[in-house]
Amino acid sequence: MTLMKKPSPRRILVVEDDRHIAEALKLNLELQGYEVDIADTGTAGLRKWKDLAPDLIVLDIMLPGIDGLSILRSVRLEDEQVPILILSARSASEDRVKGLTYGVDDYLTKPFELNEFLLRVKRLLKRATWAKGPAPGEADADSGP
């Protein structure tokens, strides 16, 4: 077991056009030890996703320019695995179903509880590490699904 994972902080991309909400999320995620980048438009979101390859994307649906669902689809075309958490003001089940159909991992309706958000983020990141499978060198130790 010589290959240890680098203890670099997990990087989270927050795509949210409301400056106040984006900053509040960044503040709290940073307090949890994550590295956070903010994109305030759909276009910037897609660009930052490509440039930074974040470990998780927090996505607002109603965005200026390209909307959240289109971003979700573009990301899913290239990356099936990166966990995506949608934050949306729309709570109708058809909206959630639409998001889930396009391959979102989790869906929170605004206004949400901060603690719930942080726990969901933590859980999504943990699950993502399982999905990636055991680290090289540990392949035989654990036979995941």
Partner: protein, 324 residues
């Protein structure tokens, strides 16, 4: 909204009804002519004079039938137009509810996040102040939305009993800009009175301020110039005052100039839009202008060329004074 099956689609039903109606009209006429011809043959067989029976009748019958069918057709057409309009209004309203929910939930979400952060963490004072300011502006945003809806209900309910006072409009506008300078801190606003005399109008101050707030925040909200500018000019024309708001914002397409005043209507700005509004602002503005017995019109050289809103209000003579 659930997808209705194609055979219930208004356009399909409309076309089908028209086809059925035209078919029945031709069949009525065809059968009538057919039956008449046979009857005529029969009558001739009895050596009677067919003119006695048919002379005028045929044309009258066809005429009456055609008129009736035309009436039915007109009825269907009216119902069709009405249903299309209702559908459009329903869509706009649906859109409005979505956007309005968004406009309410966004500040509430922000407030909740900061309050919870404050409850869990001890932040340095300077950051506390920064976030408290965010919270205050979120509260202001919420208040604005709530007022808009309440004003709408009042104005639409025709129970708006305004308190009109004769005031110098230049002064009203200048005071408004002064008092709300924090809203326009990133933009340049110039007020110019081209007529060089006090311009007295009968206005309801709170309503008029709402008009100013809507027109001016639109001008800086839908603005990508980096340095928003609004030129407000006053000009007299006979017994009217033209109050003009010219901005350097995103401008409007020709087809939008009238539609923007419709309730719930929103300009489709896919590409570089700020977060959507409620589609109520200019509808309210137009109603406020109407309550003041004035008119409003929008002009723009096109998208990206800025736009000009002109409010025309009746001027009061200087001798007239007091509330109406």
């Amino acid at each position: 909204m659930k997808q209705t099956p194609w055979f219930f689609h208004p356009v399909f039903v409309f076309v089908l009804s028209i086809l059925a109606l035209s078919a029945s009209l031709s069949l009525y006429i065809y059968w009538y002519v057919e039956v008449s011809a046979r009857l005529e043959a029969l009558i001739r067989g009895y050596h009677l004079d067919p003119r006695q029976f048919f002379e005028v009748q045929t044309w009258i019958v066809i005429l009456v039938l055609s008129i009736l069918v035309a009436l039915i057709l007109l009825g269907i057409l009216l119902i069709f137009v009405y249903s299309v309009r209702t559908l459009r209004l329903y869509r706009l309203q649906h859109n409005f509810i979505n956007n309005f929910t968004h406009e309410l939930k966004t500040p509430v979400t922000s407030l909740r996040l900061y309050l919870e952060t404050f409850a869990h963490h001890e932040l340095p004072r300077d950051r506390q102040i920064k976030y408290l300011e965010y919270m205050l502006s979120d509260v202001e945003r919420l208040t604005g939305q709530i007022n808009r809806i309440l004003n709408l209900a009042r104005i639409e309910g025709k129970i708006y009993e305004g308190e009109f006072v004769t005031t110098d409009l230049v002064e009203v506008v200048e005071r408004f800009c002064r008092e709300n300078s924090h809203v326009f801190s990133d933009s340049e606003i110039r007020v110019e009175n081209l007529s060089s005399r006090p311009l007295l109008c009968l206005v309801d101050p709170p309503l008029f301020e709402m008009l100013l707030m809507n027109l001016m925040t639109n001008a800086i909200r839908y603005n990508t110039s980096g340095h928003p500018r609004i030129d407000i000019t006053f000009e007299t024309e006979d017994d009217h005052l033209n109050l003009r708001f010219r901005d350097n914002g995103m401008g409007l397409g020709k087809s939008e100039l009238k539609k923007i005043f419709k309730k719930f209507y929103q300009v489709d700005r896919s590409g570089n839009a700020p977060s959507p509004g409620t589609g109520l602002g200019l509808y309210l503005v137009e109603n406020v202008v109407r309550i003041h017995k004035g008119k409003i019109r929008a002009e723009s050289a096109g998208a990206g060329q800025g736009s000009t809103f002109t409010v025309t209000l009746p001027l009061q003579r200087e001798s007239e004074d007091g509330a109406a």
